[in-house]
């Protein structure tokens, strides 16, 4: 994990993002325990309140859960949930951004579609 204190992304949200990436990549498998707030706070010299706020984003999203007296665990189905959320975010935020940029550069819908199809075929 890596955190950037000078990023526009608030630190607590970076915590949530890093754990999200870890769960999606399988580094934190479903049903497994994730590092404690204290462990993350200590390892990266980040205030525990900040770490907790980031983890609570994932608790609220139903991706991790607290098990009393044991710690935080990745819930069953977390990967699918996160993947769906990221897809939704892609269509809601990334696509409009690319289209805005394309428009600003005078690229037509046809040109953009052709470029996207080209990329898919290239893969």
């Amino acid at each position: 994990m890596h955190f950037d204190a000078s990023s526009v992304v608030p630190l607590y949200h970076q915590i949530a993002q890093q754990f999200t990436a870890g769960i999606l990549s399988g580094a934190f498998p479903e049903e497994s325990q994730i590092p404690s707030t204290t462990e993350v706070a200590r390892s990266y010299a980040i205030n525990p309140a900040t770490v907790l706020r980031g983890m609570n984003e994932l608790v609220d999203a139903g991706v991790i859960e607290k098990r009393r007296g044991v710690g935080m665990f990745v819930v069953q189905g977390a990967q699918a949930k996160l993947a769906a959320a990221q897809q939704a975010e892609f269509f809601a935020a990334q696509v409009p951004r690319v289209v805005r940029q394309a428009k600003a550069l005078g690229i037509t819908a046809g040109q953009l579609t052709a470029a996207i199809e080209g990329e898919y075929n290239h893969e």
């Binding site: 204190a5 608030p10 630190l11 200590r42 990266y44 205030n47 525990p48």
Partner: protein
């Protein structure tokens, strides 16, 4: 919940007015950064809390009672500063025992852990320690006292970068285990930016900013682009400073109108804590 409260605290040294009316609250169980230019009065403020000097006016209270010559309150407050002098021929073990006597308790287990982590022997004589190790000895004591309010004045003076990082990690480890209030006065803003929950900025003898770090950074932005577009985007937004270069304008604001669409050609960059403090205290006269 316990708290230390400052009400209109002033301090005058001769004809020099260092503090002009400090109002602030330090709550239980939070980590604060106390920031300001050289000579802003950070050390003075900490020394007033710990009765090493006295305010000219105003009041500092712990749970509503003045801290002045209040032994019960002072037993709950610890100030670590570079000014502490110890007898050169005594050993570290002697200092730990003395501290236990003064504060009624001392976390021996943590002290042992920290000695090992920093590779310091408790049989070392105080006079033989290098500048860095004297700081480490003081830090170990500050983390092991049972006090609810631990004030650290330039805590990492003379420490190399790995030792500083180790200290920040150990501070958070013990804080997580036993939450208490830490107030860190430092110039190494970048290093404590992620560590602290709240920030107090001292300028012109007053606290000019007392805020949750996440909140203050949420809307702090550096806006740059063609002057007309930047002005149009910011409109009536308060700006700390503007810098023009030809037709380009850079504006520093704590309250960026993030809800407005950003005109093409204008960029928004994050303002980190260090940049924010520089902009906030830029005009401060440099004195000592």
């Amino acid at each position: 919940m316990s708290e230390i409260k400052f009400k209109n605290v002033t301090k005058r040294y001769g004809n020099q007015q260092v503090l002009r009316g400090v109002n602030a609250t330090w709550e239980a169980g939070k980590i604060y950064a106390l920031l300001g230019r050289n000579g802003a009065g950070k050390s003075t403020l900490l020394r007033i809390v710990n009765n090493r000097t006295f305010a000219t006016g105003g009041a500092v209270t712990l749970d509503g009672k003045s801290v002045v010559e209040n032994e019960a309150a002072q037993n709950r407050i610890f100030l670590m500063s570079a000014a502490q002098l110890y007898p050169a021929d005594r050993k570290l073990t002697w200092l730990f025992a003395l501290t236990r006597q003064m504060y009624g308790d001392f976390d021996d287990e943590l002290a042992k852990h920290l000695l090992a982590a920093f590779e310091l022997r408790d049989s070392a004589k105080l006079g033989q320690l290098s500048t860095g190790y004297q700081t480490i000895a003081r830090l170990i004591i500050a983390l092991c006292v049972p006090c609810d309010f631990v004030l650290l004045d330039e805590p990492v003076l003379g420490l190399d970068a790995p030792a500083r990082e180790l200290f920040y990690q150990e501070l958070l480890a013990t804080y997580a285990q036993r939450p208490r209030t830490f107030v860190i006065a430092t110039h190494l803003i970048e290093e404590v930016a992620t560590l602290v929950e709240n920030v107090n900025v001292l300028a012109g003898g007053e606290i000019v900013l007392a805020e949750d770090v996440a909140t203050v950074l949420a809307k702090g932005r550096i806006v740059s682009g063609p002057a007309g577009l930047v002005a149009d985007y910011l409109r009536d937004t308060p700006v700390m400073r503007k810098q023009a270069l030809g037709g380009m304008l850079t504006a520093y604001t704590l309250d960026a109108p993030l809800e407005r669409p950003l005109p093409a050609g204008v960029t928004l960059d994050a303002m980190d804590l260090q940049r924010l403090i520089i902009e906030l205290t830029r005009g401060e006269r440099h004195e000592k």
